[in-house]
């Protein structure tokens, strides 16, 4: 990649104005000194240590970090599926515990209920909160139309492709009208083309729905393409490395991927996540240079 001469801190006036606008909005989510440790047969493991950050209303925040930085644990705590050891989170200024309607979640794996049709999957949340069948159904149709799947309302999840299933999962989470949409590597299992389409699609949805997105990913390009701000976590234990503003202007397009701001941001993220490849033993993947190499094929049968 060509070295970018720009800094990720250089923001065009429009981008500066946009961030000023974001900062002027209420803080919808405040995470205060969050820590989490697990007890395992190997002993106590500290997954998160003193994580604090704020998210403004209708902001798109991505959380990135090397494997083991606890980003999925953080998402699970935010969703209320895990309980933090210390610290608290405030939603609209109120402390929250346990799962709730105010936080929707989209998982990486296919979390759709296989025994329900697409429509009934989307109706699940509203039905659980006591909405009538008719109302829930008409609402479900609207959400399905939003993700472009109204034609598949009566199909079963196993009849859909991977990308379509994740669109249903998004519609299902949004049908509950959450304040925050948590997404834990939702496009990780998709092929590259589908993933790119889903990213654009997600931005379209986010633009049209009053929702704040907290998006977990390990794909830096994805994070830069989607996010207003990127929270970088460092591993062992998971701590906040930095919280950077993405200088790429909106609306975003795939053409920006080779742009100056994009490359500068990516360089910054790469340096931030992987400062000269730390030799921490906890990262048990050997680096490419040090892989033991044994020739398993004929000496003359060379490919390079």
């Amino acid at each position: 990649m060509i070295e970018s001469t720009r800094s990720y801190l250089d923001q065009s006036p429009e981008v500066q104005a946009r961030f000023a606008k974001i900062r002027s909005r209420d803080k919808i989510l405040q995470v205060r000194h969050l820590s989490k440790s697990f007890k395992t047969p190997q002993g106590q493991i500290e997954a998160l240590r003193d994580v604090s950050f704020d998210v403004h209303r209708r902001e798109f925040v991505c959380i990135v970090g090397a494997s083991g930085c606890g980003k999925s644990t953080l998402a699970r705590i935010l969703a209320g599926l895990d309980v933090q050891t210390q610290g608290e989170m405030l939603l609209d200024g109120q402390p929250v515990t346990g799962p709730g309607h105010d936080r929707g979640m989209v998982f990486q794996g296919y979390s759709l209920f296989p025994w329900l049709t697409v429509k009934h999957n989307v109706m699940f949340g509203p039905r659980m909160s006591g909405q009538g069948r008719g109302e829930a159904e008409s609402r479900a149709r609207e959400w399905l139309a939003l993700v472009g799947l109204e034609k598949f309302a009566d199909a079963y999840p196993h009849q859909l492709s991977g990308g379509m299933r994740q669109r249903v999962a998004i519609a299902r989470a949004l049908a509950n009208q959450p304040r925050i949409l948590l997404m834990d590597e939702p496009f990780g299992a998709l092929d590259a083309q589908t993933r790119a389409r889903m990213q654009t699609h997600l931005l379209d949805i986010w633009r049209n729905v009053d929702v704040t997105v907290v998006f977990i990913t390990h794909d830096l390009d994805e994070a830069i393409y989607l996010a207003d701000r990127i929270l970088v976590l460092k591993p062992h234990p998971g701590r906040v490395q930095e919280f950077i503003e993405v200088p790429v202007p909106r609306p975003r397009s795939l053409a920006q991927w080779s742009g100056e701001e994009f490359r500068a941001t990516k360089q910054r993220l790469e340096a931030s996540i992987d400062p000269e490849r730390p030799t921490q033993a906890a990262d048990d993947e050997p680096t490419a240079e040090h892989l033991p190499m044994i020739r398993m094929t004929d000496v003359h049968d060379s490919v390079e």
């Binding site: 799962p99 209920f113 296989p114 025994w115 492709s161 083309q193």
Partner: protein
């Protein structure tokens, strides 16, 4: 895994495919073969005179005093008598190789399969074969229903709630090793000599396995589904009713099919307890009169009913659970 496609085509195609009648394939030929092979062995043993046939059926006694036409004697004894008659210059006996009476030939059993339903029982007040069968089916049915009514909910609770699981499973593990027939005498003392103790044996034999198997199936439900439903607001009873139960239903159905087969295996022992009844009564009665072809016929009928009902339930399962991707070939 799947192709990304926005066209409605694939979904429709998948649905149409699921309903197409299966054409005879290699697999179904193998299924047929798996039944034909044992039948072939049986035919060979029955119809090829030099395979086994340890007896000789006497056709004419010749000079042997105690031989009767139709009598089965050991091959060695027959040979001795032939030698003896030769030595005494008497007429040697005539006979052909035969199998023992307890191994009838396939055609005899086939005939018995038909006549068992059309001939009256030898004892005047004894039940007909179809009556015996119906009685057996009722015993199985009630045993299985009673076991399931308690076992399935308890299994789901044990699988879903760690506390219930820890509280019930060690005892279940212990109890399932106790052979159900061991409770026969006790069951008779408590429940009398008629159908009560028989049903009880089937319940005891099925229930403890059932709780453990259902609990295991419940635990295998994908955690993501439960978590997704919790983020959507499901909790407590509605979580069980709307997520856990429908989520495990296809597997639970499969478990129940296996357990029903299990219940059948307890039937014969159960029916020997107290007053012998049902198909077991028929079998013991026929064996007493040495009508072994009827015994085989009855055993085959049990197999056909068991296997047939399982096939039917399998088909029904496919129809009931169109979303189930892990369904087996049957």
């Amino acid at each position: 895994m799947e192709q990304a496609s926005v066209e409605p085509g694939p979904a429709v195609a998948v649905r149409a495919k699921a309903w197409r009648w299966p054409r005879p394939s290699r697999a179904s030929l193998m299924t047929l073969g798996s039944f034909l092979l044992p039948l072939l062995v049986w035919c060979a043993v029955s119809y090829v005179p030099f395979i086994w046939h340890p007896k000789v059926a006497v056709e004419a006694p010749g000079g042997v005093d105690y031989f009767q036409p139709g009598m089965l004697v050991d091959r060695d004894e027959y040979a001795q008598q032939v030698e003896a008659m030769r030595a005494q210059h008497l007429a040697p006996p005539q006979g052909h190789p035969a199998n023992p009476i307890y191994l009838p030939a396939p055609h005899e059993v086939a005939r018995a399969l038909f006549t068992a339903f059309t001939t009256a029982p030898e004892q005047r007040d004894a039940p007909w074969l179809h009556e015996s069968l119906w009685h057996s089916i009722q015993v199985i049915f009630w045993g299985f229903v009673i076991s399931s009514l308690i076992g399935v909910p308890l299994g789901i609770a044990a699988g879903h709630f760690t506390t219930v699981g820890r509280l019930t499973e060690p005892f279940n593990e212990f109890f399932r090793y106790l052979p159900a027939p061991a409770f026969g005498a006790l069951a008779v003392a408590v429940l009398g000599i008629y159908d009560g103790p028989k049903i009880a044996i089937i319940v005891i034999g099925t229930f403890f396995q059932q709780v453990l198997i259902v609990a295991n199936t419940t635990r295998k439900l994908e955690a993501t589904l439960v978590e997704a439903s919790r983020t959507l607001g499901a909790k407590g009873w509605s979580l069980i009713a709307h997520v856990v139960v429908p989520g495990i239903l296809p597997d639970l159905y499969r478990d129940q099919r296996v357990l029903l087969g299990w219940a059948w295996t307890y039937l014969i022992v159960a029916e020997l307890i107290g007053t012998s009844s049902g198909i077991t009564f028929f079998i013991t009665q026929q064996a007493r009169y040495q009508h072994f072809e009827n015994v085989y016929a009855a055993i085959i009928i049990i197999g056909v009913i068991g296997f047939g009902s399982d096939l039917l339930l399998g088909r029904l399962g496919r129809w009931l659970f169109p979303w189930d991707r892990s369904r087996d070939g049957r």
